[in-house]
Point group: C2
Chain length 309, copies 2
């Protein structure tokens, strides 16, 4: 991972000094690096060449970073992981261009793997992510249907987890069947990861989360805990409002709904849903021969529903 981070940071070398500073700032701002970790472990498990694997992992994390830079700009977010965002310090124009630069370097690193299927999946995934963001931007607030929710979290998160795992398999000497198993694995951990993110938005300590509790709902974004609450409480007045297409907009109204959801079984139901995805992912790993990397992936997989709880 150290080599992956060095490779990421070296991408601005020879470019404008402010760009180098921005890249260093973004990369040292941390992040869990879970996507490149998946790439590295899957690739090592399946026998990918080390140098290509590091290149691929850096490409994946840079792509993720690029989308965050533009997301934070669009949302006007001032902090991410407690550290000032680029858009809080730079002009919108400089922030747009820095994101573009990261896209370009991510694409270059993906090309450096010299795998056409990797390039192709990589660029398709970017389309999926961006299309998801556009759909969210243009759709009305407080969309409460379950199907729409799964589509949203696939576009937002699971697609890149799927790609992080699948690309590693694509540069490994394995059968098409193994590639499909790994794809299913990546999809499932991605879905579980985002559901848990959505749960943590309700139950985490706000100081750890770096944002107020229930901030998704405050932004008109209905996630799985709210969907379960709606299904369980058709009699709740605010649930009826939401189902009638009226998004709550008074601070106290929303805060009291957040409290009701926090203290309802909807949280455990959501975690159980994430655990179903984790179990599916776990089953995928069982199809592969045991090895230290598989054990490591199993631990990472089980950790998804246990983090910060």
């Amino acid at each position: 991972m150290h080599q992956v981070e060095n490779l990421m940071e070296s991408q601005a070398e020879g470019h404008h000094a402010d760009l180098q500073a921005a890249l260093r700032h973004i990369i040292t701002s941390g992040g869990k690096r879970i996507r490149p970790t998946v790439t590295l472990l899957v690739g090592r498990m399946l026998g990918a060449a080390q140098d290509k694997l590091i290149t691929l992992a850096a490409a994946i994390e840079l792509l993720h970073t690029a989308t965050l830079v533009h997301d934070d700009l669009i949302d006007g977010a001032l902090l991410r992981r407690g550290i000032p965002t680029l858009n809080s310090q730079w002009s919108p124009g400089a922030t747009v261009l820095t994101g573009d630069f990261l896209f370009a370097r991510a694409a270059k690193l993906a090309a450096d793997t010299e795998s056409i299927p990797v390039m192709s999946l990589f660029s398709s995934t970017l389309s999926v992510i961006v299309n998801g963001e556009i759909s969210q931007l243009f759709s009305s607030r407080c969309q409460a249907d379950r199907q729409g929710y799964y589509q949203r979290i696939y576009a937002k998160t699971a697609s890149l987890f799927e790609t992080s795992a699948t690309c590693a398999a694509l540069i490994s000497p394995v059968t098409e069947e193994t590639i499909q198993t790994i794809r299913t694995y990546g999809f499932n951990i991605g879905m579980a990861f985002q559901i848990m993110d959505d749960v943590l938005d309700f139950i985490s300590d706000p100081s750890k989360l770096g944002k107020p509790v229930g901030s998704d709902l405050k932004q008109g974004l209905i996630t799985l805990p709210t969907i379960y609450y709606i299904e369980n409480h058709p009699e709740d007045e605010m649930v009826q409002q939401i189902l009638d297409g009226h998004c709550p907009h008074y601070e106290e109204e929303i805060q009291s709904l957040v409290e009701r959801i926090r203290n309802s079984p909807s949280i455990d139901q959501s975690i159980a849903e994430a655990e179903r995805y984790v179990n599916e992912a776990f089953l995928c790993l069982q199809k592969l021969p045991p090895c230290p990397e598989r054990t490591h992936l199993e631990e990472l997989t089980l950790y998804i529903t246990r983090r910060e709880l």
Copy 2:
């Protein structure tokens, strides 16, 4: 070119309806399509497969379009070619994401050529373009050195012309020597093209240009005609100001400088400079066997310094 445009427009199929509308708007807004024309002619001249060539041409033009979408947003431009820009009608967020979507689809099309060197050059070129824009954004206004000017127009324009031509050669059954000849050809027409754009900014009919005369200088951007004027008129008071690092900022001051440049030999000197690049490009073509496409490219090349004069 009709097939290229269809392929471009089909990129939003299956995606969000507003994205489809945006793409249609952008593509029907026209543009000279000179970059994909270069790609198509070079590829046909060198024997590239027709389907890959069309895919490549669409990738090149979509990449160009994506950079324009973000540029117009950053510059706050309301019109391009007399047609309202996306950012004049959409929120900044939607505009950023539409640009990102176009980048993603351009990269996917580049991957569809199934050529690693194409992918690699394609993503490197995007880095060069974006790095150029970032440098411009962060550098002080009224940079008057000739070397810096050439670097700027390479990043802004010539790099993508070079890539438009080179990628077509890369998917053709030709020697490395021919690829290099084509690369030099693309570089030279790109440099000539941007110099002529900069000349036209001074001498065009504003109604045809869709912006006021001398708008570059008004934005603090010093292009070749001004550089020649500075070299020829060290006694001019405003030239001295610029050389001392003071960018003129009074409307009338700038307007009178624009008039002096318009009516000076600096314009013809700049055109002569563009013609030198055109001649270099022409010489590259002479190294290749004659064929209808070569003739067509020769005409296109000579036309660069003659358009709209």
